[in-house]
């Protein structure tokens, strides 16, 4: 399955979901649905969040696995937090 894009490749604006379909019964729902906050992140940031959860939220463990320094991993987390905060503030 293709990866879900969150940014319009033409104008770089955030994308919304217009149509959902059930693969089993082919039911289709049409409307305008907003992407969840985590789905709006870049693929790299989403992978970071998944790894963060896998490590039970331990930045030290993430730093050890990625062989990066603790502040580098913490800065990545801060960047993700900042991106999640922006849409929240816009609402």
């Amino acid at each position: 399955m293709k990866k879900l894009p969150s940014i319009c490749p033409a104008c770089q604006s955030p994308l919304n979901i217009k149509r959902l379909s059930c693969q089993k019964c082919s039911t289709e729902i049409e409307g305008l649905f907003e992407l969840p906050a985590l789905a709006k992140l870049s693929v790299e940031d989403q992978e970071f969040v998944v790894q963060f959860v896998r490590c039970s939220g331990s930045l030290k463990e993430m730093a050890r696995l990625q062989k990066l320094s603790y502040p580098t991993v913490r800065n990545q987390l801060d960047n993700v937090i900042e991106q999640i905060k922006i849409p929240e503030n816009q609402q």
Binding site: K67, S69, T72
Partner: protein
């Protein structure tokens, strides 16, 4: 992403990253330990050639002094910059940071000056520097210079200036990574911090020398 994929990603590191931003990979206690070892080695080598670290970014040929004074100089330089940048980060950084990362990365950022010392330690460099100083002040001199001294001096100056630029770049990276500061605010606060720390360290080392009778 699996753990194996993460490990593979972490191996894709370039020499440039290690040279100009090693703090992506090393910080905290490890950086502090390594930095302290390097600073003590620099102080010891400096004491052998009377090379004084008499300011955060200073390296001068000076008067003979006991080893403890050279150690005090490097520690004062490191502490002045770390403390000033730590205070700056409290105002500039919007995220939390660990004090050990600030002190550790700033200690490790001083590595280039150890390399600079190794280049300017040969006697020929000092001899030509003393000869130039005497000529500059129009004083009579008995110093006889050898043809290799000029070459040693020129190479030494180029290396020291390169190491100075590298060290300042590392200090900025250390500040940026350990305190999560970016952009114009980070650059301005770093430059202001470096100037304040330079003044503080020069005054502190001068006072220490005066109070202990070394000047």
């Amino acid at each position: 992403m699996t753990n194996n994929e993460l490990k593979n990603n972490s191996q894709n590191r370039t020499l440039k990253q290690w040279l100009f931003n090693p703090f992506q990979f090393i910080a905290g206690g490890n950086a502090l330990f390594l930095g302290l070892v390097i600073m003590l080695a620099a102080a010891f080598l400096g004491s052998l050639g009377d090379l004084h670290f008499d300011g955060v970014i200073d390296l001068h040929i000076g008067k003979p002094a006991p080893l403890w004074f050279f150690i005090a100089e490097v520690l004062i330089d490191w502490l002045c910059l770390s403390i000033v940048l730590l205070i700056a980060a409290f105002f500039v950084s919007r995220s939390s940071f660990r004090i050990i990362d600030v002190f550790g990365t700033q200690a490790l950022a001083r590595t280039p000056y150890l390399a600079a010392l190794l280049v300017i330690m040969p006697k020929g460099f000092n001899r030509f520097a003393e000869y130039l100083a005497a000529k500059g002040m129009q004083q009579p001199t008995t110093i006889t210079i050898e043809s290799t001294d000029v070459l040693l001096f020129i190479v030494g100056i180029v290396v020291v200036l390169s190491m100075l630029v590298w060290m300042v770049a590392l200090m900025y990276r250390a500040y940026s990574v350990s305190c999560n500061t970016k952009g114009g605010k980070a650059i301005i606060s770093f430059i202001a911090g470096l100037i304040i720390a330079e003044i503080l360290s020069i005054v502190s080392i001068w006072q220490l020398a005066l109070r202990t009778g070394l000047r």
